[in-house]
Symmetry: none
Subunit: 196 residues, 4 copies
DNA sequence: TATGAATGAGTGTTCATTCAT
DNA sequence: TATGAATGAACACTCATTCAT
């Protein structure tokens, strides 16, 4: 029976998961390597058998969120459809990413400044590209007459704010599914509060 | 004897201001008392002539934002007017508070968990009251027919997200005044993206 | 594979011993963790691999004297015999304990107030029990007619003073053995200075 | 009206008294200049208007006990009388000195090692002279036949122990006067526990 | 005479990381 | 692969003392 998947536990992944939880709750600097070791049952020093450094742990957490959100945006833009539909899909994917990875998302938004300057730049560039993507959808919506001629920059920030802030409060396990929340947000953004 | 310079510098205030900047940029735990001392030109130990503790510094920063936002909400609710007008006023005041105190606001949103448990509870209670106030405005707007019968909880969170996220990006010194931003946010929320 | 050196040094014990010497000579507060580290050749921070805290070090020193003196008294009371014999045995054991652990005894008498309030209470209670034991022997001696009807409290304190003060001056390595000193003290106490 | 005694309160004395209490309770190193200042109602820095240094405070406290005990011994030796009478007088004066100055006595016995090496030597020399005096009385008592031919050194230490230990427990304000205690100690030492 | 501010050294303790075993 | 021990720098905070006012 060849081709077995490596039988050993993937410690790397377990460590990163433990670190994400601790970083989210206590902050990057408020979490010691001992805390992380204790969370998976080994000594602090033993962590270094599996990982490079504390900052590397942070990097992997931040990176995982960053890469997924980049890929989501790229796919939404690639698949076309109406701007309203794309807006809805962007909201859905972003809320799902944040909702299903709330600890990592919290670390992403709060702790990225603890990365090295070079890595911080990469994060900033990625965020910029994501927002560019969002604005391109808004612009196309205006061109096609689906949206009013709003200020694209501010409207983009408004939607970004609504989506990103989800890390503060949203848990998808509860009564409100990701789809329902995406529906409501998209509806609110498109239709506003005005009665018909 | 004209032209007297005020004999006493208010060191307390200067220290808090320096701390706010450093906490915002480097985080609470990433900022040492030495950093703060260096920022105002005295030794770390000398800070304690003027302040109680590092945590007290954080508390004063967090408290100043908390108290002002509570007062703003109370005044808006007290002065009445149409729900749309109140929503606009809430946005205006919150954006002004955050925009004019971006460092403190950043510390408020990122670092309050470094306060003692009791102080954290006070912050949470204050945020809850603020959101209650916002929801009461939304509810009244629906009752009066100014707004559609949206989900008050989600709509409240959406607006809160838009306003709070301003600490991440908004500087009132630039081309976009607080009034303009509040106008745009209120308009977007009320009218949505739908073309007329 | 003969001649193996014991693989592990008991650092805990070495640190406590070094601390006892330093606390006795310089006082608890006059001794820094750096002093203790230097005494055994490691950095101050490295001490914490082996110990809990500075106060814990003090506690262990104080406790060792306290527990032994409690056990000694209990054994003397349990083994019975004449009151004079018991008095002699109490003196012998106390002088041996103090003489053979002069540094720890010095720390016990001088530094116990640096323990936490709860631990101080335990020490006080232990001393009280020891003195109760001594008084019970004196009382029995009077009842049996071995001793005059002296004031038991004052006489107990007198003997306690003679024994405890040994930490100030007595080294059993010299010309005066513990047995000799106990003999002399017991004889002096029982017979007094009066010529026969 | 010249030659007035200085009207100002003698701050020196008040500071020393406050320091003695604090040193006795918290130890020399456990007492800050701020503690001492607070005890008499001025700021720490202001103490230096009246005193030289913290060590000087300690020195004055230790010195006051040392000088009085030296003078007491000198007077007892000078006034002659029977050895038993002298022993009684030594006990009386030493118990009075310690009992009426318990805080200072505590500081004397516990904190003298915090003095400079030179000052420590002076203290040691003084104690040695005092003990020499005591031994000379014992020797004369033996020569005159008032005492058995006991070991003068050990007997001297025994009496010294009984007297000095008084700082630990004796308060002359209670039911036991200095005279009564001196009587009991002298009787115990001379007559012993043996029934007549 | 007293203050408030400052100093600079020092406190006990924690930390990320290394390394021989 | 994991451990226990160690490092050396850093941490928040306190201290005795000085000094301009």
């Amino acid at each position: 029976m060849p081709d077995r998947v490596p039988a050993t536990t993937d410690y790397q992944a377990a460590i990163i998961e433990a670190a994400a939880g601790l970083f989210a709750r206590q902050g990057y600097r408020g979490t010691s390597m001992r805390d992380i070791g204790a969370a998976i049952g080994i000594h602090a020093g033993s962590l270094y058998v599996h990982i490079e450094s504390k900052e590397d742990l942070l990097h992997q957490i931040v990176n995982s969120i960053m890469l997924q959100s980049e890929q989501d945006m790229a796919e939404v833009l690639a698949q076309g459809g109406t701007p309203i539909g794309q807006l809805h899909e962007i909201a859905l994917r972003d809320l799902r990413l944040i909702g299903e990875n709330r600890e990592r998302a919290t670390v992403f938004f709060h702790e990225w400044r603890n990365l090295s300057p070079q890595r911080q730049e990469v994060v900033i560039a990625s965020r910029d590209r994501w927002e560019d993507g969002l604005r391109s959808v808004l612009r196309r919506g205006i061109e096609l007459g689906e949206f009013r001629a709003v200020d694209v920059r501010i409207t983009g920030i408004a939607l970004t704010s609504m989506l990103n802030w989800a890390y503060v409060w949203y848990s998808p396990g509860g009564e409100l599914s990701v789809e329902q929340l995406a529906d409501q947000y998209a509806d609110l953004l498109v239709a506003g509060l005005r009665p018909r």
